[in-house]
């Protein structure tokens, strides 16, 4: 495997493409107590079509990527959780907008746990009976999500921002949509997206690259070459609604303000710039944050972040407020002011230093390290390239990004009020 020693961290990572087609990265952390392995595919809820034999595309039921994630744990011989129980590893999985990941964390029996991970993800097994059984479980998961006001205010925002892009659809689907999922559809989705050329294995912690490569050699089945799935969503640049309102039994109004990024990006400089910009716009080091707190317009639930994926990018400011429209107006003013006046270089340096420290501080946990490099590789970025890009940024770079990427007019406010 190719060695890559990160100059700032001093850690050495190992990266290569296995002959089977899988991209593999190993981040040895000899003093860690555990190892974390994540085996992920570039397939999430936004990839909502399958090719048909006739050469067209058909839309699949909402929630199918997540449903497949649940069902992959079952095989003809039994359940992967039962196998992990023998090693004592903590195993789990998740589905997001653009990926599905299967993972374990273990302090003992690390290599047998890695074997189980590589094995069960490559063994799809779906029958009418097993698919039917999951309806009740996922139905309850959906109900649980429906009671979550943070999820409601977020998905209402996405529906207000996006006209047609599937990011506006809840990842789990609905009780109705999942009732249309069949074993045949699951097999077709698996065959289309769970190709090793479309996947990444990242292992971090108490493990060596030789151990991981050996497991890959023993267990990976060669995959036919595939072109990455490309999607062309017919999504306009503008939002569809500027205000979305809803009610739920909550104590105080929740809000999400989203600025729609016109062109999505995986450029590490853009990702690093986004981290800096959300801090410069509304972080605790800003006068804006202080003013909003002093006016009683936000509380310590307030947060800001950027997230993006295939065909979507959202600058998100969220929290609780009795007057969410006033928070929105204040943020709009802040965006415009910084666009007009530029970024204070001294504040930029201070904020950049803080972000650097917080990013590095978060890399003790093998799970954080594994997730970071897996995510970077699925996005086509060299591991830790974002950290390097952060250190190379200038205040002028960040200002240019602010002017290019945020438009006050292209925003949506979502509010969930008590009711």
């Amino acid at each position: 495997m190719t060695e890559y020693r990160h100059p700032l961290l001093g850690d050495t990572l190992y990266l290569d493409t296995h002959p089977s087609g899988l991209t593999v990265v190993v981040w040895p952390m000899p003093s860690a107590a555990s190892a974390y392995g994540v085996f992920a595919t570039r397939y999430g809820s936004v990839y909502n079509t399958l090719p048909t034999p006739e050469g067209g595309e058909e839309t699949v039921p909402e929630g199918i990527a997540h449903y497949l994630e649940h069902k992959l744990f079952e095989s003809e011989e039994g359940d992967a959780f039962t196998r992990f129980a023998d090693t004592g590893a903590s195993a789990n999985a998740y589905t997001s907008f653009d990926k599905t990941a299967y993972l374990f964390q273990a302090t003992e029996n690390i290599l047998p746990s890695l074997d189980i991970l590589l094995d069960f993800v490559q063994q799809p097994y779906f029958t009418e009976e097993t698919v039917q059984k999951e309806q009740g479980i996922i139905g309850q998961e959906i109900r649980m999500c429906e009671d979550n006001p943070d999820r409601r205010v977020l998905f209402n925002l996405l529906r207000g921002m996006y006209h047609t892009h599937p990011v506006r659809v809840d990842i789990a689907g609905t009780v109705e949509s999942i009732s249309h999922i069949t074993p045949e559809l699951l097999y077709r989705c698996y065959g289309r997206y769970y190709n090793l050329h479309n996947m990444v294995l990242a292992v971090a912690g108490r493990i060596t690259p030789e151990e991981v490569w050996d497991a890959c050699n023993r267990l990976l089945k060669p995959a036919a070459p595939m072109e990455p799935a490309t999607f062309a969503w017919d999504e306009p640049e503008n939002v569809c609604e500027t205000l979305v309102e809803d009610t739920m039994p909550v104590a105080a109004p929740l809000f999400c303000l989203g600025y729609k990024e016109p062109h999505t990006t995986t450029d590490p400089a853009d990702l690093a710039g986004a981290r800096v910009l959300v801090e410069l716009l509304a972080g605790k080091s800003t006068e804006l944050y202080s003013r909003l707190m002093a006016q009683g317009l936000i509380n310590d639930e307030f947060g800001a972040e950027y997230w993006g994926g295939p065909g979507f990018g959202v600058w998100l400011f969220s929290g609780e407020s009795s007057q969410p429209e006033q928070v929105r107006d204040a943020l709009h003013q802040q965006v415009q002011q910084l666009q007009q006046e530029g970024i204070d270089p001294a504040l930029f340096e201070t904020v950049r230093r803080g972000i650097y420290g917080r990013l590095v501080s978060g890399l003790d946990d093998p799970s954080a390290c594994g997730e970071l490099v897996m995510s970077h590789l699925l996005d086509g970025i060299r591991p830790l390239e974002e950290l390097d890009a952060l250190m190379a940024l200038t205040a002028e770079d960040v200002h240019r990004q602010l002017c290019r990427r945020l438009t006050v007019e292209n925003s949506t406010l979502s509010v969930v009020r008590p009711g």
């Binding site: 129980a85 903590s90 195993a91 309850q140 649980m144 979550n148 104590a251 639930e301 904020v351 230093r353």
Partner: protein, 425 residues
């Protein structure tokens, strides 16, 4: 790695966890006081009030820019309630010198900043500034009110209130909406003085530094304070009352919480057996509740048990269709009976044991998780490493687990259901 327990002057102690394996160093102050309705709010406002600014950096932006200057150091406070005591935790986390350009050691600056927030807060006429106090009071009040938003946590809290009425265990360590709303800036100022004078104080330092210098730094500000910390006792006695309560809200999914009393609590009860029993029952993905309530009967997405070893309480909670609540409750109790009678396999027991041992040992991976591990142990001043606990867990026998289940008694059922006609569970 063995913690080094260092007694300090002024009735404090320091737990040193040496080693430079982490990318950060961390200093934590653990302050424990009795949890009482009359004083809870005054103490609860302190973590927010003291970690927002201090005399040297008297505004939130200035304080946060200082943290950024220290390469993203984080300084925060929190309040928890182990065993019905109110524990305030103040931490500062800072980058190890290996990752600081120029190799600067941030330990002294970070330590001083934490102590400055405690001893040199931004005051006006001897009390907190009205602007700071009013903001933090509003945030605390809204945080309390916001607990209602998470219906799973809300249902668990309601069950605890019914399970242990009139006992500190059922109190929210953040106070109540009424006591927070009535709180004055003078009461908050008094609470800070009381905390420094009368709390049990433990310090936890993770990293390598000049420990003698650190000891001196920690002891110095307490020289003029006459301290009288309390002796911790936890009342774990109980009388079963078989309470059932149903409430309704505009929800999609019912939340069922069953409360149990277990005659196995710190410091003298067979906590290790109870931990293994909890893992077997509903504390891991191979547990009996996961297997039977979720996978076999498809009744729920989550059905889990949790064990409070300080109070001797277990809670089992799940999200279900309201019509299935009875079925879920019956299955949960059936699985407890199964454990009492030894109707579980050696494989199931070993899977549960492995799961909990590995969960504990993985807490050694981050300073934050290790902090939580040792903060919990300050209540009774017994410090075991995760390895040592692992050895005790390995020694738990099948009969120990059965006995722990026989010491577990059903007491309270709380059902929060979607709006419809109220029925008893």
């Amino acid at each position: 790695m063995q913690p080094i327990h260092i007694p300090l002057q002024h009735q404090m102690s320091l737990i040193h966890l040496p080693g430079e394996q982490f990318r950060t160093g961390r200093l934590t102050g653990v302050f424990t006081v009795p949890l009482r309705p009359s004083t809870a709010a005054g103490y609860a406002i302190l973590p927010g009030l003291l970690s927002r600014c201090c005399e040297a950096y008297p505004t939130v932006p200035a304080f946060n820019r200082r943290l950024d200057d220290l390469y993203g150091a984080s300084l925060y406070g929190n309040v928890i309630a182990p065993g019905g005591w109110q524990t305030l935790v103040f931490s500062v986390n800072f980058l190890n010198r290996r990752y600081v350009p120029g190799g600067e050691d941030l330990t002294e600056q970070a330590t001083q900043l934490l102590l400055d927030t405690l001893f040199r807060p931004a005051l006006e006429n001897g009390v907190f500034r009205e602007s700071d106090f009013n903001e933090e009071k509003r945030c605390l009040l809204e945080r309390l009110q916001g607990e209602f938003n998470n219906k799973r946590l809300y249902a668990r809290r309601r069950c605890k209130e019914l399970l242990c009425p009139d006992h500190p265990f059922s109190l929210d360590p953040n106070g109540t909406e009424e006591t927070v709303a009535a709180l004055t800036v003078h009461q908050a100022a008094e609470a800070r003085k009381e905390l420094l004078a009368n709390a049990r104080i433990h310090w936890i330092y993770q990293g390598d530094t000049d420990i003698d210098a650190l000891v001196h730094t920690l002891e110095k500000p307490f020289r003029e304070i006459h301290r009288q910390p309390p002796t911790v006792t936890v009342d774990t006695a109980f009388t079963l009352k078989q309470c059932e309560k149903t409430e309704e809200l505009d929800l999609k999914q019912a939340k069922l919480v069953l409360g149990f009393r277990i005659a196995a609590a710190e410091p003298d009860g067979d906590v290790m057996a109870a931990r293994v029993m909890n893992a077997l029952w509903g504390g891991c993905p191979s547990s009996l509740l996961f297997k039977h309530v979720r996978e076999e009967q498809s009744l729920c997405y989550y059905c889990a048990s949790s064990y409070d070893r300080f109070q001797g309480v277990m809670l089992v909670d799940c999200g279900v269709e309201a019509a299935d609540a009875d079925k879920a409750k019956a299955e949960i109790l059936k699985q407890l009976d199964a454990i009492r009678e030894g109707n579980f396999s050696d494989e199931e027991l070993e899977a549960a044991r492995r799961s909990i041992i590995q969960h504990f040992s993985s807490l050694e991976d981050t300073p934050g998780d290790r902090e939580g591990w040792y903060v919990g142990q300050t209540l009774h001043d017994t410090y075991l490493t995760t390895d040592e606990v692992g050895k005790y867990l390995l020694a738990v026998t099948k009969e120990d687990v059965c006995r722990a289940a026989r010491l577990t008694h059903f007491d309270t059922a709380y059902l929060l259901k979607p709006l419809e006609e109220v029925e008893n569970v």
